[in-house]
Subunit: 391 residues, 2 copies
Amino acid sequence: VITRVRGFGAAGVHCGIKYRKRDLALVLSDSPARAAGVFTTNKVTGAHVKVDREKLRRGEAQAMIINSGNANACNGKQGIQDAKKMCALAAQELGISERLVLCASTGIIGKRLPMAKIREGIRALVRRPANRWEHAARAIMTTDTKMKAAYREVAIGGRNVRMGAICKGAGMICPNMATMVCIIATDALVSKRMLKRALKGAVDASFNRISVDGDMSTNDTVIILANGRAGNREIREVGVDYRRFEGALTALCQELARMIVHDGEGASKFIEVRVGGAASEREALLIAKAIANSNLVKTAIFGEDANWGRIAAAAGRSGARVSERMDITMNGVKVVRNGVSTGREDEARERLDEEEVVLEVDAKVGKAKGFVWTCDLTYDYITENAAYEGL
Amino acid sequence: VITRVRGFGAAGVHCGIKYRKRDLALVLSDSPARAAGVFTTNKVTGAHVKVDREKLRRGEAQAMIINSGNANACNGKQGIQDAKKMCALAAQELGISERLVLCASTGIIGKRLPMAKIREGIRALVRRPANRWEHAARAIMTTDTKMKAAYREVAIGGRNVRMGAICKGAGMICPNMATMVCIIATDALVSKRMLKRALKGAVDASFNRISVDGDMSTNDTVIILANGRAGNREIREVGVDYRRFEGALTALCQELARMIVHDGEGASKFIEVRVGGAASEREALLIAKAIANSNLVKTAIFGEDANWGRIAAAAGRSGARVSERMDITMNGVKVVRNGVSTGREDEARERLDEEEVVLEVDAKVGKAKGFVWTCDLTYDYITENAAYEGL
């Protein structure tokens, strides 16, 4: 139902970067839209990150062209030139200003983009009917096993504001795949400043809470385009309208973020780590991330082993303050109270056969809380990553 | 040849914590020795860490009793009582002061020590001939597949100073196993202050440089006892004698640290990550650790895949300053120069079939360097850790 977002279109084609699969996508607004982006904090970044950051200073865009199969990262000046060229080619075919075209690349690091193929692909894209969101969603996939798209509506100032997004990512973050790319289209009328703020808030509470392997991509990119076609009263300040908009945007991003974790490389279980009783929100997240990124915790959950010692040890080494008298709960079963076993490990083990696992830690040093989503670590993760280029 | 260290003895027996294997060890000096220790920085610590830290304030000890199979961690006050009791029982049987007996536990977290078995085991230990270092080394093993011991001699002030150590650990660090324990015996005559300093220096350049899975144990413990029987001129300040002593101690600890990585859970390859051109030593280590702890780098090396993009991305997210124009070398083959591929990936791939892999990164922002040792991430790691308690 993303097609219901007013004034947006999308398409996806095969241009030959990948073998036989769709590998080039276009998302397009009928008219110039307000735009904002959030990017990887990795110091090594893909070429498109540099190019998009520059273009987004003006807060406006109309189209985005995305290829999969090649991350165009670690390609030096040539990479930057190729990314700019990709935007220019799309602008030319679409008959719009180059300034209004963003780009993204995802796939293998360190190989040049095949520009001739991309040129042909762009020509094919603009000839397609522009209501093929599913094709676009498929064209940005890499090791993803499932297509990822989501849709939300929210009433703002008497109008129904619509937002839809497509997304890819099967490891948060899998640097070789230069992994996470998300493009959000909304017909909301919202100021550039508020759009930027809402996107940052939504990403912090969603994509920044997920972890598949603790690695961080060079190319992670979330872009939002807002073309104002819903005709709502413009959202210009933090008020009821803004909160409804950010709330819907957060829900949309959380749905996609959960999809990424469910589709995590080799994942058999979805794990939510909830930390309470921390000294600050920052420390709650530190604890949750230490647990979520622990290979020992992740393999224990894969083995359905109520091995809370690994959780306690990960919390202890997180760098955050934790009390040795912490509580630990696994899928509702309190296995540790005041730092010692309650003897309920067998009961917890039985509950771990569920596909979603909730691990709760009360650090008992304060009142702050936080959560992180991750998945287990399995044989399939090793298989997928020990010979990625061969896949 | 550890038996050549003057005035020290050791023994190991089976007391029944583990099934049929030796699980209780004693290391003993003929006379009270100077002693120092380095412990885990995890905020959740095993009971023996608290007990030993307290005892080592005086800088003296004569014996150490160590059990495997049970970490005596997360057992609250009961755990502390049991650790103290273990020391007291050993002191009683040996006829020495309780103050002079240290203890350590390694194994599963969250289960009480079986004190009756330990009492019987201690009685058996003191009846044994005290030159059974191999028995002691075997008695402290957990998931280790090989016994770990090392020996060094160094001429100091005209005398031959000897030092020997036994050690266990097959994951640095595997919290459930509460993993790394090392006891070093030396006949050097050295002041308490210099002993502490030399141990810290040696550990920083060895055990603190290794990583199997990025997790940190609750129980990591390195203890040194120096009984002065070599009759060397006392080492009391930082001079030639001190440097020779610290140098030998560092070499001894590095040999053991390499053994731990080689025996890392599921490891098929030993990986040395060398970072140069960093802004500071601290940042060099940050970069090296980010690479060494990256599951994607570790699985690539397991797959003998010259996937330098994962190394670049790990360096980029390390938090340290790195230039995008970095150089990367894999087993002597420069695969990246000034941030872009040299096209020598196939050549590098062939060299990755060696059992030792050296990954070099020149961050090109400064002059500092550092190294870390780690191992690859394999199917066997998952097997060992998905169902640890069942093994």
